[in-house]
């Protein structure tokens, strides 16, 4: 990966990291829709890593690896938690879950990013967004 950063389980640190990544996204010429998608997925991924993966434990860290070029943005977020099975997360769009206030983060990442993968342990997320501008002939 092009760049790796490690932060404590802290939302302010996550915000600073997010801003740095979005500067890089802008520098590589991503359009408004792609930038919205990357920002959304980054927030959801970091939120899950800090609040759920690391359970907010400030002694645990989150590692963010980014590889962003004009063709595609690859982001890998790793926490120090025990992991989870994304298959067990209820579908928030199912009728019976529509009014549940939480559980939409993974669904949103899947809706907005081109690729969303978790590792076997369930504590590492890899998301990819391709740059539509670069795909045009």
């Amino acid at each position: 990966m092009a760049e790796t950063k490690v932060i404590q389980s802290d939302l302010k640190a996550a915000r600073r990291l997010e801003e740095q990544v979005l500067v890089e996204v802008a520098r590589n010429g991503y359009d408004e829709a792609a930038t919205f998608a990357i920002k959304l997925a980054l927030e959801e991924g970091l939120n899950n890593a800090i609040r759920h993966g690391n359970a907010g434990d400030p002694s645990k860290t989150v590692r963010l690896e980014t590889d962003i070029d004009p063709r595609r943005a690859v982001i890998v977020i790793t926490d120090e938690g025990g992991g989870f099975d994304p298959q067990t997360v209820p579908d928030p769009c199912a009728d019976e879950n529509l009014e549940k206030p939480s559980g939409r983060g993974i669904m949103l990442m899947q809706a907005y990013m081109d690729e969303v993968h978790y590792n076997q342990a369930g504590n590492q997320l890899r998301i990819v967004k391709r740059n539509a501008r670069e795909q045009r002939p």
Binding site: A14, F36, C93, P101
Partner: protein
């Protein structure tokens, strides 16, 4: 009443038919608690009609959506309701993707929301 911090501004406007919350900027992971707290305050006041004017809201995360859903559920206890007004295309697409546009009425203007 207006309270600005970071990239989110919440402006609460009392109207005869209800309360309008003008949401400006980003309801992101770091500020969604402010929207949650404001809606909770209005729910506790048993406001019957809460209109969220989203015309100038540029972003919302799942936590922010959760704050609106929580208020929607709490509103039921006093037969209150929440409606949404003029989300930008990106947020409108999010509401459709999550099927929340089926849960909340989405109106074109504040006046339309207040009179419906």
């Amino acid at each position: 009443m207006s309270a600005e911090f970071g990239s989110l501004e919440l402006c609460v406007e009392q109207r005869e038919a209800g309360v309008v919350v003008h949401v400006r900027g980003e309801v992101n992971l770091y500020e969604s608690d402010r929207l949650r707290a404001e809606l909770k305050r209005l729910v506790h006041q048993r406001v019957e009609q809460i209109v969220l004017d989203l015309a100038e809201m540029t972003f919302i995360c799942s936590d922010g959506l959760g704050a609106i859903i929580s208020a929607h559920i709490q509103c039921r206890h006093h037969a209150g309701r929440i409606s949404l007004v003029s989300p930008c295309p990106a947020v409108g697409a999010m509401l459709d993707a999550t099927r929340l546009s089926e849960l909340f009425p989405v109106r074109d203007s504040v006046d339309e929301a207040l009179s419906s």
